[in-house]
Amino acid sequence: MRIILKMTSPTLQALRPLQEARVLGFAGELREDFRHRLRELGFREGALVRCVRRTPFGGPGVFEVSGAIFSLGAEIATQVQVSEVGSA
């Protein structure tokens, strides 16, 4: 089971509260203008992202990146690939 999970790299969606990770890249199917906006907001390759909290009912996650707080829905958080997670 563990092996299967490791085959795909984790995404922002997998981050639990207070865990940190670095952005590796984006899923292939993510549109270029969305990638561009994510980079502009700070979610660019190599950036350190911290999950601040998850919200009720499986709602959007809340993330801290370059001194600001953003909330990303599951549909986009699953498109941002991150490095192995570690807790802060």
Partner: protein, 619 residues
Amino acid sequence: MSELSDILILGNPNSGKSLLFNRLTGLKQKVANFPGVTVEIHQGEADGLRYSDFPGIYSLDALTKDEQVAVAGFLKAVHDPRTRAVLCVLDATRLERSLYLLLQLLPVARAARCPVVAVVNVLDEIVSCGACVDVPSLARELGVPVLGVSAKKGTGLAELRRLLSEVPAREAADARAPSVSAPLVAPVAAIKDEAKRLAKAFGPRADVLLKSQNRIDAFLLSGFFGPLVFATLMIFLFQAIFTWSSPFMDAIEGALGWLGDRAALAAGPGIFADFLRDAVFGGMGSFLVFVPQIFVLFVIIGTLEDSGYLGRAAVLLHRPLSFFGLSGRSFVPLLSGHACAIPAIMATRSIESPRKRLFTILATPFMSCSARLPVYALLIGGFVPAHTYLGGFVGLRGLAFFLLFALGIVAGLLVSAVLDRATRGRAGLDDAPFIVELPPYRWPGLKPILLNSLTRAGAFVKNAGGVIFAVTVVIWVLGYFPNGAGHLDTSWLGWLGRFIEPVMSPLGLDWKIGVAILTSFLAREVFVGTLGTLHGIEAAEDHAESLAESLHSGGLSLSAAAALLVFYALAMQCVSTLAVIRKETGSVWIPVSLFVGMTLLAYTAAAVTFSVFQLLGTA
């Protein structure tokens, strides 16, 4: 008069641009402000300068409709010789991201030879955290004048005004820069790195500022307290509309009644006195009474907006709203739709998904806007007793209001859900992901909110008042002639009314209310004005009983009143809303089918309500 030169105000969303704009222009700005997000370019004048307040943008590469409006407007204006300078507003609490925008603007402005002035706003907040921004060093590194200000406290504004008025006027030749206005393809990484370096060198430490925000978020976004606080706030909102405004409404009603009697006395007996009393004071007056409720609604929405809570509400509601084919971002338009659908539909421009934007536009007219309030208030005041429970905290009338608001919300959500399911997987409309910034919490300034609400309520009265007055006059003429006061049944209007009576009888309504409904297809609030005028003509001399009482004595049953309420909750009776939908969607088909659909739905639901109440009554 000499030509005004323009100052373009640009900045990130939530950087306090609009507050700065209000401070700089005083109250001399054009009344074009509507609640909700700033989605249009607003202009105001002061000291020979014309300020343009642009919607907030993160970068020059626009993603949403409101950003497109701002970026296109900026690229055009920066090449205009009348533009004197660009005023870029930086948020001291979000310096890195603010600088990213400034660093993108700078080369564009320089290419057009347009001077740039930057202000570091919200300084008061970081100072209270014990941090600071090294403004002089920042100015040196950027090569543009930078000032530290607080739009909220008003500090640094005098200096800013002086600086702006001293910017040398551009020479016409300079302004003939290339007219090619395609955004430069920005190397994100390079600009981002530079913004980060500057913010780190001269700005406050980010973690200091985020600490208090995180503490509040931990509470407001938690699984238990988050939804609880949200529900409490919403119930409070609807209760407040009714309870806070009632003393003001009583005062206005009293004052207008007194004035009307005086005016009629002064005019002496005759047609003119009848006209004054029935059409002017009866018709217009019954609408003006409800302005306090509209004002209270604007105050509460403005407070939630300025505090930063609306962003959290969007996050909390994203999942539930997704179920109905909407986005968390649909929440702000849907909430301000309770004030007025027109600005709410314009506020949908900030929804990045065109598909969810369309569904939000279609659901918004179901929200109980302030124009429905007069109708609700009249009928609830006339048919629901003023019982209170829990020591006066929960009133039966407030509860009735809440049910009607809930009916509108549920209907809007269901319509959206059905459309979403019906069009799923079909090509045509793009979807886009949910990305929302959570701004720092801020104490809302009471004075700007009150002033703003006053301006908005005033604009509402001004816009609606004209239509209502015109309709009132026409109704009065039709109802007064040929036989004069007290002969409504034999008037031209009475004759017309019998024509539509067959359509109204399944709802238990008589022809007078039928006429009022017909006139209210122009705008809902006309309903009360029309009824007020009709009541005035009919009662002639006797004005002792109020409009609500006269509905009872006129034979309107409880079942019919309930049917009428349901009809108003669901019907699409607003020409202006249809016009805005036509403009925002670029389609004639969408507003026309929405109108037909909503009217049929409202009529059917009202007929069902009437039958159910009748059955309950006889059982």
